[in-house]
């Protein structure tokens, strides 16, 4: 079995309207259906609440407001899943009821 991180992207403006709502029925349904593959996951607060920390190249840090990359589509949450291979991971990822879409990243396992 391999581990994959599913990053969920959404349109920030649409997501803002839904702020404060509890987890939607479609996500609950997805989580029920794929319970055996889900290792964890969470929804994130809006990108306006994110903070980036960059190493300044010396020994310090630059702390700034917002995510690394500002765009209309932002990271809204994630799932960590387990699947036999990429095909199965993609099947699961396609079922995530994400607004914009998702990215699937294989997770590196230390030897």
């Amino acid at each position: 079995m391999s581990k994959y991180l599913i990053l969920i992207y959404q349109d920030e403006a649409v997501a803002r309207q839904a702020e404060g709502e509890s987890i939607s029925a479609s996500y609950q349904e997805f989580q029920r259906r794929r319970a055996s593959s889900l290792l964890g996951g969470a929804a994130l607060h809006p990108s306006s609440t994110a903070t980036s920390i960059r190493r300044d190249g010396a020994s310090g840090f630059a702390v700034t407001d917002g995510p690394f990359v500002e765009s209309k589509e932002t990271l809204g949450g994630y799932y960590m899943i387990e699947a036999t291979d990429l095909d199965e991971a993609l099947e699961i990822a396609k079922e995530v009821p994400a607004g914009v879409g998702v990215e699937v990243w294989p997770v590196r396992v230390a030897n």
């Binding site: 391999s2 036999t84 291979d85 990429l86 095909d87 993609l90």
Partner: protein, 422 residues
């Protein structure tokens, strides 16, 4: 077995390389565990063949011989790697002892052919999670056995770029666990379409080389044909596979008449139709019938049907342009690409007259995808010339000339320009 002369051995190994590479590699993949090990083992097996067939004689079934040798070598490489990592049980699992013998016995029992393995390999190479260029590169590298340098040359990129592309793709296959498997039937059609697109691109790149001294890259066109034939053997009941092979055969059939003795382009209009390959046409038409039985017919079947109308016309003036136009209309529904629109416009010009065709071509001028496509300007030039608008035709051919990098096509366009000037 009788000893064999070195020239004979070299020819046999080259032939086996061409015919059996995909089979040997695919059959070695599972034993090897990863692509790099499999490739190394197969390369070693071919090298061994070159040095031993002279003494032992050329085997009756070179593919089976090479597969046994490659699988032995792969087990060897794995065992060595496993020992180095002290992880032998993890890699080979229980019952490791005797595995080599079992593999070899299996090979003999199966008569050496496991068609499914090649199918697995091509679906892995053409997995949609890989970039399209990477799919094409991997297919040529792993299924056709082309070297990285040869793949780079075919697609006009520096060898280092191609090497990086192939390495990245292989790394993704391993890291993301892209499976070595034929997709489930529910997904097969969708996935197969990607595979067919890769094979078609290999063929078309060979059919009219984007640049260089020759109009065609025969080696690439042949690889495309071979890949299509391989798919036909592996998926004998698929209508889209039948359509692609029909299209390639019906296009290939005209190859001998496409250039003359001076290596100049001969347009379809002026080709010596007695030079067309009748056998390929018959074979293509039979496959086409099968492909057209699917409802609705796929895009390759429709393109093959258009090619068949040309192939079966006794002369240029007998060509049924209305039928061709009707087929392009169907093709537009299935596959509304700018290039299909361009070809439909040309058919319209022959069915309804050059003025109609020209109007349609002018409407295509704004297509960004055709902005650097020399055939749009060349087609405009042709219709303008037919309408007697010679000055504009000259300008259009001049535009096409700037956009093409193929020497034979450049010579053709220069010829058209000087005709109009003279």
């Amino acid at each position: 077995m009788p000893r064999a002369a070195s020239a004979e051995v070299a020819a046999a190994v080259a032939d086996a390389h061409r015919r059996e590479w995909a089979f040997v590699l695919a059959a070695t993949m599972r034993v090897a565990g990863d692509i790099d090990t499999a490739e190394e083992a197969v390369q070693d097996a071919y090298a061994t063949a070159l040095s031993t067939w002279g003494g032992s004689g050329i085997p009756h079934n070179p593919g089976a011989w090479l597969t046994v040798a490659a699988r032995r070598r792969a087990l060897d490489l794995r065992r060595r790697a496993a020992t180095a990592e002290r992880a032998l049980p993890k890699l080979l699992g229980p019952g490791e002892a005797g595995l080599e013998d079992r593999v070899v016995e299996d090979m003999v029992a199966e008569g050496g052919d496991i068609p499914d393995d090649r199918l697995r390999l091509i679906f892995t190479c053409c997995h949609p999670a890989l970039a399209f260029e990477a799919q094409v590169a991997l297919t040529l590298r792993l299924l056709c056995g082309l070297s990285t340098a040869e793949v780079a040359r075919a697609f006009l990129v520096p060898e280092t770029t191609m090497a990086a592309r192939i390495t990245r793709a292989k790394k993704k296959i391993t890291a993301a666990h892209i499976p070595y498997r034929v997709p489930a039937s529910s997904e097969l059609q969708e996935r197969l379409d990607g595979v067919l697109s890769v094979v078609y691109l290999v063929y078309t790149t060979g059919h009219t080389a984007p640049s260089g001294a020759d109009l065609m890259r025969r080696d690439l066109a042949e690889r495309g044909l071979e890949l299509a034939k391989m798919l036909r053997v592996l998926l004998p009941h698929d209508s889209d596979v039948a359509g692609l092979l029909a299209l390639i055969l019906l296009t290939e059939a005209r190859t001998g008449a496409r250039v003359n003795g001076n290596h100049d382009v001969v347009l379809l209009e002026n080709q010596d139709r007695s030079k067309w390959d009748r056998q390929a046409i018959e074979e293509g038409v039979a496959l086409l019938r099968e492909a057209l039985a699917a409802r609705p017919p796929g895009r390759f079947a429709l393109m093959a049907a258009i090619a068949a109308v040309h192939d079966e016309s006794g002369s240029w003036s007998d060509t049924d342009w209305h039928e061709i136009l009707g087929l392009y209309d169907l093709l537009m529904e299935r596959w509304p690409s700018p290039v299909v629109r361009l070809n439909r416009a040309i058919a319209l010009g022959f069915a309804a007259g050059p003025a109609e065709g020209l109007a349609e071509l002018d409407a295509l001028g704004a297509e960004p995808q055709l902005a650097r496509y020399p055939y749009l300007a060349a087609a405009r030039g042709d219709f303008l010339a037919r309408l007697g608008r010679l000055e504009e035709a000259r300008v259009a051919f001049g535009e096409a000339l700037i956009l093409t990098d193929n020497d034979v096509e450049r010579r053709f366009l220069q010829g058209r320009i000087s005709e109009l000037t003279g």
